[in-house]
Symmetry: C2
Subunit: 172 residues, 2 copies
DNA sequence: GTAAACCCTCAAGTTCACTTGAGGTCAAGG
DNA sequence: CCTTGACCTCAAGTGAACTTGAGGGTTTAC
């Protein structure tokens, strides 16, 4: 009911006062002001900050998070449906991240150890991972299968070759 | 067999020349020099760079990666067993990251939407995630269950309460 | 009504992971 | 030999995400 002063928000979210001011300046959260010019945050700021922190953990930039939050209504306190819609937009990104990590976990020692790690071609190596999608519709990024000698896109020699060969690894 | 000049390494790994020099300065990779002072990299640098890039994707800092790479032998080209040992040390971290993301995916709309997101207490929210473990033995970090009204560590009022109540969310 | 705790702005600083630029050297092909 | 492209160092710059500090106003609880 009562709006919260910045220190309260900091306490309840575990985010520093300076960071909250920074987020506000970046347009991630908003406040009203008292007559004396102090910030008073509507309570839904707590949820917004939580969203920001979780999104950061997933690997999104503040910029991406801002666009995501732009999906919330501007003129009223977000409803549950608003938040659900927002979090639903993460699914593809999360699925993709999870897929990458699972592949990484399951293939890591074979992959790093044996030379299948073809760098540019290998799904494990592929960056450009988070940071995309979210503001602009689902976009599955990597998801491709292991290369296993498949042709390199540009017809350049497979990097797997290079890593495989030579004394990069010595037989024990 | 032949050692690689920096440009070749850049091409084959997709990492910029400047970044390679930077990695070397940071002690992540090493090179020999020609008579004229130019870098010549042993071939296993390709694998090291791959390791670095993958570790970064998992969310490790260069600092953490350096300690991980310190597990490789200094005096000889790493064997496959060396790499396997190194990548095995990631398991706990990977398992933990995957667990967090799965929880996040499966609980997200309920969690963000309904107010269970208790900020400091919620496993989804918990940072301090990657960056630990790797140099210093397995250390499972979060992994705890959903709070569901459980007492806040310090006896402070549960944040879940605060997020739940008030007009942070309006019924549709 | 006043002191302590809290809050304000604005500018500058910090860390991480690099990149850019200036000014110059090295090496491979013709 | 000589040119051209790759390479060298070192210092400074970049962008993201904050933090710190100076100097000063505001709120609240007694």
């Amino acid at each position: 009911m009562e709006p919260l002063p910045i220190g309260q928000v900091a306490d309840r979210t575990g985010v520093a006062v300076s960071a909250l001011r920074f987020y506000e300046q970046q347009g991630l959260i908003r406040s009203e002001r008292t007559g004396g010019g102090q910030r008073r945050y509507p309570r839904d700021v707590l949820r917004r900050v939580a969203f920001v922190k979780i999104a950061q953990q997933v690997g999104l930039s503040l910029d991406a998070i801002r666009s995501a939050l732009a999906g919330l209504p501007d003129d009223r306190t977000p409803t549950r449906a608003d938040w659900t819609r927002l979090s639903a937009s993460w699914r593809p990104l999360l699925d993709q991240r999870i897929g990458t990590l699972l592949r990484l976990r399951d293939d890591l020692d074979s992959c790093i150890g044996c030379g299948c790690l073809s760098l540019k071609a290998c799904a494990l190596y592929n960056p450009g991972d988070a940071a995309a999608s979210l503001g602009d519709g689902a976009r599955y990024l990597v998801g491709d299968e292991r290369p296993a000698g498949a042709a390199t896109p540009s017809g350049a020699p497979s990097d797997a070759r290079d890593i495989d060969s030579g004394p990069g690894i010595r037989s024990p």
